[in-house]
């Protein structure tokens, strides 16, 4: 290990294959490929949805047909053929289980490989798991504890049936059906996702977490998440993804809506590790996600993300700071390797008075990848004393990759205070030399430096999740992160 250099690291990064690439063969209930109004109706019927929901989906579908795919992002990819995708697939082993023993053993083995066995998870720090395998929830834990507090945490399809008044009131209020091409598509065909409601004044006692996995060849995954934190409540929501190795590109177009009412706080953390494609850039997941939250008075929304996977990522978790004194935060680490392309960032829309936002974005590019930060900070004319701080740092490994920054800053109020800074650098020879000199070998030194570089963001992750994030960083930059 004495002669481990950055070149070795690069070599290792090049050859490192996706470790979690495996495929579980569960008999699936899959729709034929293609998309038309009948498919949309069929999805709705399959989910036993009420008429208003079917109409809502159809409305979205009609809008979607009129729209064209956005091209402004700094990514290049072969556009998916939307008629060659199956829009519904659900694991067949139904109905739901009350105990873990009833769960399909093959599925359990899958989780074991991921290192997230339910047994372990149950014990681990009170994390409630709503495990989503190919769109339908198959196991939910800790539901009772949550129920006692009045917290509703279930799949969105159940919520449509059981709490239609809440879904109807909030669905599409933050991300309208016609918001953008992929949001419209998602609105039309979303198969499942999570729904979470925290009642007034309740501090959710545990981290809520859902695992999304794409598990069936040729199925797009269209998740829909809706989190509502009622007045004065608090919730920390975790979302993590790993996907099996596949050759054709898979499409993932999720929509996440967060609603933080007066004095509420939502912390939303993501670890994303969809299959990034192999070293030649073949295969990999297309990740086109719309995530947005709205803050009412004194509310706070915090997005934390660790993006290591996907061939193409197009993702901008945003905050609309509508209420006075509301706070928005965005912490992100995006790692790209091989031929991965990431165009990610955030939007902070300041509408209320005394609103504050913080953006910390760390991009690490290696191999032949392209990593872009794209963000918008907008201060409305009524947003007196709005405050923003943005920092975007990029770390480049090798000269075949690229790091780009596209910040948009629009201020219409004289009391606004906005700071934006960005730097691009590589791991300094002097930094490595300094470590070497003190008996730290180069591998450890690189690990230290990368770790230090992303520490600001890693620190924001909930403890249980930081473990997973660390693991995923290890896979993406094996040998560099200790």
């Amino acid at each position: 290990m004495s002669k481990y250099t950055e070149d070795d690291l690069r070599e290792e990064l090049k050859t490192k294959e996706y470790e979690y690439g495996f495929y579980t063969d569960i008999e699936s209930d899959t729709f034929p490929n293609g998309l038309n109004e009948d498919i949309v109706r069929a999805i709705s019927k399959k989910k036993e949805e009420p008429q208003w929901m079917t109409d809502w989906r159809l409305e979205a579908f009609r809008v979607w047909q009129e729209m064209t795919e956005p091209e402004w992002a700094n990514v290049k990819y072969k556009k998916p053929d939307f008629q060659a995708i199956s829009y519904y697939s659900a694991p067949n082993s139904k109905p739901k289980y009350d105990s873990i023993d009833e769960v399909d053993p093959e599925l359990l083995a899958t989780f074991e490989k991921l290192g997230i066995s339910l047994d372990e998870q149950k014990k681990l720090a009170g994390v409630a798991m709503d495990v989503v395998v190919d769109s339908v929830s198959v196991a939910t834990t800790f539901k009772k504890t949550l129920g006692e507090k009045g917290i509703i945490f279930m799949s969105i399809s159940e919520a449509i049936k059981e709490h239609p008044e809440l879904v109807k009131k909030y669905l599409g209020t933050v991300v309208p059906q016609k918001d953008n091409f992929y949001a419209a598509l998602n609105s039309a065909v979303f198969s499942d996702g999570s729904f979470c409601y925290i009642p007034k004044g309740v501090h959710c006692p545990m981290e809520l977490s859902t695992y999304f996995r794409i598990n069936q060849a040729g199925t797009g995954q269209f998740e829909r998440t809706l989190v509502i934190a009622d007045e004065g409540s608090y919730v920390s929501y975790l979302e993590g993804c790993t996907a099996p190795s596949r050759d054709e590109n898979q499409l993932h177009a999720a929509v996440v809506e967060l609603i933080a009412l007066d004095d509420a706080e939502i912390k939303y953390s993501t670890v994303q590790n969809w299959y990034p494609g192999n070293a030649e850039g073949k295969g990999g997941v297309y990740n086109f996600v719309t995530k947005r939250g709205i803050c009412e008075k004194n509310a706070k929304i915090s997005w934390t993300q660790v993006e290591t996977g996907s061939a193409v990522t197009w993702k901008y978790p945003s905050c609309i700071l509508k209420g006075d004194n509301s706070v928005g935060e965005f912490y992100s680490i995006a790692v790209t390797n091989n031929y991965q392309q990431a165009d990610t960032g955030t939007k902070m829309i300041h509408l209320g008075k005394n609103t504050k936002s913080t953006i910390i974005s760390k991009g690490i590019s290696a191999g032949k990848s392209q990593n872009s930060y794209r963000g918008l900070v907008q201060i409305n004319s009524r947003a007196d004393n709005a405050r923003n701080f943005s920092q975007c740092d990029s770390l480049l490994m090798g000269n075949a990759c690229g790091a780009h920054t596209f910040p948009y800053i629009e201020a219409k109020n004289k009391t606004a205070k906005i700071e934006h800074e960005a730097t691009t650098s590589k791991i300094g020879e002097d930094q490595i030399f300094y470590c070497n000199q003190r008996g730290i070998d180069t591998e450890k030194a690189i690990a230290l430096i990368v770790n230090g570089f992303s520490k600001d963001v890693l620190n924001k992750l909930p403890m249980e999740f930081a473990v997973e994030a660390q693991k995923l960083l290890e896979i993406s930059l094996e040998g560099s992160v200790g």
């Binding site: 402004w72 990029s394 000269n399 690229g402 920054t405 596209f406 948009y408 800053i409 629009e410 730097t423």
Partner: protein, 437 residues
Amino acid sequence: MDLKEKLVSSFLAFENRVDVDAYVHDVRSEAIKVFEEKGFPSKKEEAWKYTSLNAILKEDYSVFPKQENTLDYKDIKPYFIHDIDSYKIIFIDGKYSSHLSQTTHDGLDVCLMSSALNKPKYQLVIKNYFNKIAEKDSLTSLNTAFSNEGAYIHIPKNKIVEKPIQILHFSTGNESATMLQPRNLIVVEENSHVQIIERHQSLTDNPVLTNSVTEIFTNKRAIVDYYKIQNDSKKASLIDNTFIKQRRESIASVHTFSFGGKLTRNNLNFYQEGERIDSTLKGITIIGDKQHVDHNTLVHHIEPNCESHQDYKGIFDDNSTGVFNGKVVVEKEAQKTNAFQANNNILISDKASINTKPQLEIFADDVKCSHGCTIGQLDESAMFYMRSRGIPEKEAKALLMFAFSNNVLESVKIPEIKQRITKIIAKKLGVNIGFDL
């Protein structure tokens, strides 16, 4: 008939009126086709997202000056730096004014684009440099199609030009609305050094639209200092397109002072083709009313060991809007690049707005690139300090604002320009102090 149709249809008449060389003729015909196809840029284009030309394109501009106008020296004296000896190239309504100008062919060429385009002895330079780095976007193409008059400056090897060159464009307002399209070509050969001051001035309140293109070539180890003073009347709009190509070890800097005009758009592009090049782009913008100033910069780092420094300060009052769109591209061969970009803004009024977009596109790993951008207010404790010492509010504010923009002035190499700018700033801020405390 809208402006685009008018321009396209008058192209043939224009071609017939001026003597054309076959080479230039081809360049022009090609350019008008590009303009005809693309038209004027709209807000749908990313580069024009925050700047709309609609309002200024509505005027019924006369595209060619109908008559030659003259001005007296006393009318124009306030508008140039008159207390230093300088070469002057003066245009009135787009026509060269020989009795006001002071040009030379003695050891260097400071003369006219029209003669360079027509006289055989300049053919080689024209073929080598004319329209070689100007982008093929619609406004630059429009200028290329009508390129006829402007400044032509050619500095031979190892020549230090002792006095600055002033390029001044006046419009008399004898016609209700005028469109001007000056075209400048500046070639600075090895080891030479030149300082240039450019200014556009309208003498009445009749609308003027200037679409100017300047190509600057700085060869090996050459030094070019360029100052743009933009303090035009409230009815005049300026679209300035400047392209600078630098060869190795050359140093080029452009300072842009934007205080006047209705709409000002500065497209400033630097292309670094060689090692150890230094580029500086600085600007002060102080505007009010309904003024709009847009700085659109590009620095393209192509080879290793180069530097670029950008520093733009803006102060926006009333209903004014400011735009900064800075882009730094570092190619993968351009290792050891140091690129810095700073954009600081102060909003004074509730109705003023600023849109800024500092972009970095980096393909090389061993580089130091950073950009910073701030929007804020004057420091209240500093204000309090001065007020408590008996400095009136207005003056205290002005002092702070002057201090805020002083970074940019510090690198100005001609003291007379510094003084002039200081005076303009004082006037703009409505105070009667000298700032040279």
